[in-house]
């Protein structure tokens, strides 16, 4: 009867690891991520967070949108799509990238895996098939969504390499950051990537191998502190790493309604991803102009804030009177022992000469108080351990 496939369920979808994540989820705390049930926390967010900083945390990233990009023009297509030079990303390498609309505003960020010659996987937070297909005009390339077909786990933390070795992934210790390799006759792809700013890997399999992968991994990690990690813990780790979250720290340009709410890569502190020297790419003209004229309106800054009150949803002031921006992500960092935040401020104020302050509201026994806390603009990630880059990494 049905021409377009069987009716969709109105129930929230289950990821390929649901049988395992539901077993592990003692709190029964879930949220819907792109329609898939995803754990907020399994036992306690801070314990899970410390697992990924001290041992290994495992995050189910199946709902991440995934596209398979193949064809003779795959490289040329991607090079026109994103702002960075894709010709430098050889097979077996992964690139973090952003792509812009014609006005040079960021549609999304994501990672591009060069699986083999002419074959790529693009992973993004948002869903962009309409944009990606429109951009195929003139290229001999095929773009297919494979979100539901590919299951993936992030395995993050100081013991992650040792666990993967114990799992039998021979030579995994030689995989460099942003490298990818295959095991099990190509059935398992492992990339040294992640959203925690720490030593870590991401494991990718076809959906049917998912449960087996989980079981092998947890068996191998039993003695090395492996734990399932929910979205709350991951969010803490990514803020410490200074990673931006789409729809939190910036709004994808194709969702923007109000004028001036979209951001260029420069405005997001991602100017290092823009290569104006390479061949033409989407948004190049606008970005070249923005750079030449210094016309960026906004600046994304990493802030270390005085005191210990998290600056969630705070206004940022130059001095203590002039409002110049707002915080998009904030937390007390347990590893850095710092009060940290990602904030958007008007471009001229993103420096320490501006004497930035955060207006912080905090609650104690129901009563609200307010403090104006001094902010220091920092360049480096709040958490950036050497093990993140060490090859081979230590066992713990």
């Amino acid at each position: 009867m049905s021409v377009a496939g069987k009716p969709v369920s109105e129930r929230v979808l289950r990821t390929a690891f649901y049988s395992r994540t539901s077993e592990a989820n003692l709190l029964n705390k879930w949220h819907s991520w792109r329609g898939y049930t995803t754990a907020d926390a399994y036992y306690d967010a801070s314990i899970e967070y410390f697992a990924c900083r001290n041992a290994t945390g495992v995050f189910d990233l199946c709902p991440m949108t995934k596209y398979r990009i193949t064809g003779p023009d795959a490289l040329a297509y991607l090079d026109r799509l994103v702002t960075r030079d894709m010709t430098r990303i050889k097979p077996g390498r992964v690139a973090y990238a952003v792509w812009c609309n014609d006005a040079g505003k960021v549609i999304d960020d994501g990672t591009i895996f060069h699986l083999s010659q002419g074959e790529y996987r693009l992973c993004a937070y948002g869903r962009h098939l309409a944009w990606l297909l429109a951009a195929t005009l003139g290229f001999d390339v095929s773009v297919e969504e494979e979100t539901d077909e590919i299951a993936a786990l992030a395995v993050q933390g100081p013991t992650s390499c040792a666990i993967l070795k114990d799992m039998g992934l021979d030579g995994i210790e030689n995989l460099k950051p942003f490298g990818l390799t295959h095991f099990d006759h190509g059935q398992l792809m492992v990339s040294r990537t992640g959203f925690t700013g720490d030593l870590g890997y991401e494991l990718w399999v076809e959906r049917r191998f998912a449960e087996n992968l989980w079981d092998r991994l947890f068996e191998a990690g039993r003695l090395r502190g492996i734990r399932a990690m929910g979205g709350d813990a991951l969010d803490m780790a990514r803020i410490e790493a200074g990673f931006l979250q789409a729809e939190v720290d910036f709004l994808p340009a194709d969702q923007v309604v109000r004028p001036g709410r979209a951001r260029s890569p420069y405005e997001l502190g991602l100017g290092w991803l823009v290569d104006l020297e390479k061949a033409n790419f989407n948004g190049r003209r606008a970005l070249a102009r923005e750079k030449a004229e210094g016309s960026s309106v906004w600046q994304m800054v990493k802030l270390v804030i005085e005191g210990n009150k998290p600056a969630d949803a705070s206004y940022i002031y130059a001095g203590t009177r002039k409002q110049v921006g707002f915080v998009t992500s904030a937390m007390w960092s347990p590893v850095a022992k710092q009060n940290i935040a990602l904030a958007t401020v008007k471009a001229p104020y993103g420096n320490n000469e501006s004497n930035l302050h955060a207006e912080i509201y905090y609650q104690r026994e129901l009563h609200w108080s307010r403090v104006m806390a001094r902010c220091e603009v920092v360049d480096k990630p709040f958490w950036d351990p050497p093990r993140r880059r060490a090859t081979p990494p230590a066992d713990y």
């Binding site: 377009a4 369920s9 006005a103 869903r127 098939l129």
Partner: protein, 538 residues
């Protein structure tokens, strides 16, 4: 004793709203209604024992929350419950659902086209951009672009500022949007027929435009610019039917000391010394007031209940040229039980949503061709709902009321005037279409009220049965609505005002025209304003 500060002609929701704000300001007001019930097209009627029909308008979104609040309509009994989603049944046995839940909606669209499911995001953002633009002007009097008065210049600048605030691309898009067709607009985002068909309905409902007629994209906006509790674009049911809206406004009016007289049909607006002086009723009675407000559409106001001698001929010519074309009909059905739609999964939430039975823009365009040929559409666009799945007050438990808005339906047939036989054949066309997707539907029918433009005009005075009291095309919007130079609710005769949907911002159960007109009247009387300002989205 037959003397008032103001007379409002017609107890539709705009007339009642206008009167309520005048009464709130302390004026002695009477609303004169020709029927023995109030509400006009926002009405609940028991036309089958124990069944309450929303027999004209049937859903609520546009009613301005500022008015809801200012007239304290909650205390006067109005409750609006949101409902969500829609379903479009397809000829091949499949269907396209649009679900309340964003993710389920995406998944369902992706079942038909993954491209379109992702394209919806940009469509929604661009459409919201246009929606926000117009929402700012709903509770404002349109500026006169030829005037140099301070307030007109100020208001023109406000429009200009809203335009200039947009990004360059958005300005280009806006200029295109206001004149393009809904079909062309949708074609720019989507590739899948049924997805386009399901979204196009909002671009044609209530208008004599087809999906590829220029100007129909704006009509989409007119259906998206409402809200339920700040949820922009959402629609809801007024508990107890759409009469709940009119009854609550009437109750507010009476609480402010205003009067309503039913079965008091106005035959003539009396003009003395170039000023409005009152009205003469069909009964021969005269009611006097220095302010007369007409909630009749602009054609009926100036051509039916006024003496042409009191008006200038160029003005009357413009009134005659005002487009107010009938394009729709309505079936109201009492059901002995809930019909089943076998294409839908058991327990589907889509049963609570709008249902449509036409799955491509081409079919809708063909339906429009029938209208041009002066017949009702053989394969119509039906917007069908079963409010009793949400509202327990409209039918006995387990029984249902079904509302079917039908397009296209011409005001006059190729064979001449509508006859009762034509009307019944029109009704059969609709029932047959629904039956194709619901085999048990016909057997559940207890009573049907069929309304063609003929009934809509005769019973509630909508010229040609046009639900918006005038086409919503660019030439008849903002400062051109209803007549260029007369968009600020004042008629050419001193003391005479217009407050119907023929005026800005147009049709729908919005109450904004009634409120805007009241603000102008109070300004002329140098009375304190009682009409609220726009809440503002930001």
């Amino acid at each position: 004793m037959n003397s008032y500060d103001a007379i409002v002609i017609g107890a539709g929701h705009n007339g009642l709203t206008n009167a309520a704000f005048l009464a709130k300001a302390g004026l002695k007001v009477v609303v004169l209604e020709k029927n023995d019930y109030i509400g006009g097209a926002a009405v609940s009627r028991e036309l089958h024992k124990d069944w309450i029909y929303s027999n004209c308008s049937y859903v609520c979104s546009l009613l301005r929350p500022e008015i809801f609040q200012a007239l304290d309509l909650a205390r006067h009994g109005l409750q609006v419950t949101p409902y969500g989603g829609s379903v479009t049944f397809m000829r091949n046995g499949d269907y396209l659902g649009s679900y309340w839940d964003h993710e389920v909606a995406h998944r369902e669209m992706a079942r038909h086209s993954r491209h379109d499911a992702d394209a919806y995001q940009r469509f929604a953002a661009e459409t919201m951009r246009q929606t926000r633009f117009i929402r700012d002007f709903l509770l404002r009097t349109p500026p006169d672009p030829t005037s140099f008065r301070y307030r007109d210049i100020k208001e023109l600048l406000a429009i200009g500022r809203r335009v200039l605030e947009m990004d360059e691309e958005a300005i280009y898009d806006t200029l295109r949007f206001w004149t393009m067709s809904i079909g062309d607009y949708l074609d720019e985002f989507f590739e899948c027929d049924v997805i386009k068909a399901s979204l196009a309905g909002s671009g044609i409902i209530g208008t004599a435009l087809g999906p590829y007629s220029p100007g129909s994209a704006y009509v989409l906006l007119h259906h998206y610019m409402g809200e339920v509790d700040g949820n922009i674009g959402a629609w809801g049911f007024a508990r107890g039917g759409m009469g709940g809206v009119s009854n609550a406004i009437a109750s507010a009016l009476q609480a402010f000391g205003g009067e309503i007289r039913k079965e008091a049909e106005v035959q003539q607006i009396i003009v003395r010394n170039g000023k409005a002086a009152g009205v003469a009723l069909a009964s021969g009675e005269e009611v006097s007031a220095p302010i007369v407000v007409s909630n009749l559409d602009v054609r009926r106001t100036f051509l039916n209940v006024m003496d042409e001698k009191d008006l200038d001929s160029r003005f009357l010519e413009r009134v005659r040229n005002f487009h107010i074309r009938g394009s729709s009909g309505k079936l109201n059905i009492a059901l002995d039980g809930l019909p089943t739609f076998p294409a839908l999964p058991k327990g589907s939430s889509l049963m609570h949503s709008d249902m449509h039975f036409i799955d491509s823009l081409e079919r809708i365009e063909r339906a429009y061709d029938d209208w041009k040929n002066k017949t009702w559409s053989r394969d119509p666009y039906v917007d069908m709902l079963i409010p009793t799945l949400t509202d327990p007050t409209m039918a006995p438990p387990g029984k249902h009321f079904m509302s079917c808005f039908v397009q296209y339906c011409p005001p006059e047939l190729d064979t001449g005037e509508w006859t009762d036989q034509d009307r019944d054949a029109f009704g059969k066309t609709v029932i047959d279409q629904i039956s194709e997707y619901s085999p048990d539907f016909k057997d559940l029918i207890l009573h049907v009220e069929i309304r063609t433009p003929r009934e809509l005009e005769q019973e509630i005075g909508l010229t040609e049965g046009n639900i918006f009291q005038g086409e919503l095309t660019m030439d008849q919007l903002m400062f051109n609505r209803p007549i260029p130079g007369f968009a600020q609710y004042r008629a050419p005769v001193k003391g005479l005002y217009m407050c119907s949907s023929s005026t800005h911002p147009g049709g729908g159960v919005m109450a904004a025209p009634g409120a805007n007109a009241a603000r102008e009247i109070l300004a002329d009387l140098k009375r304190p304003n009682t009409v609220p300002e726009n809440f503002g989205d930001d």
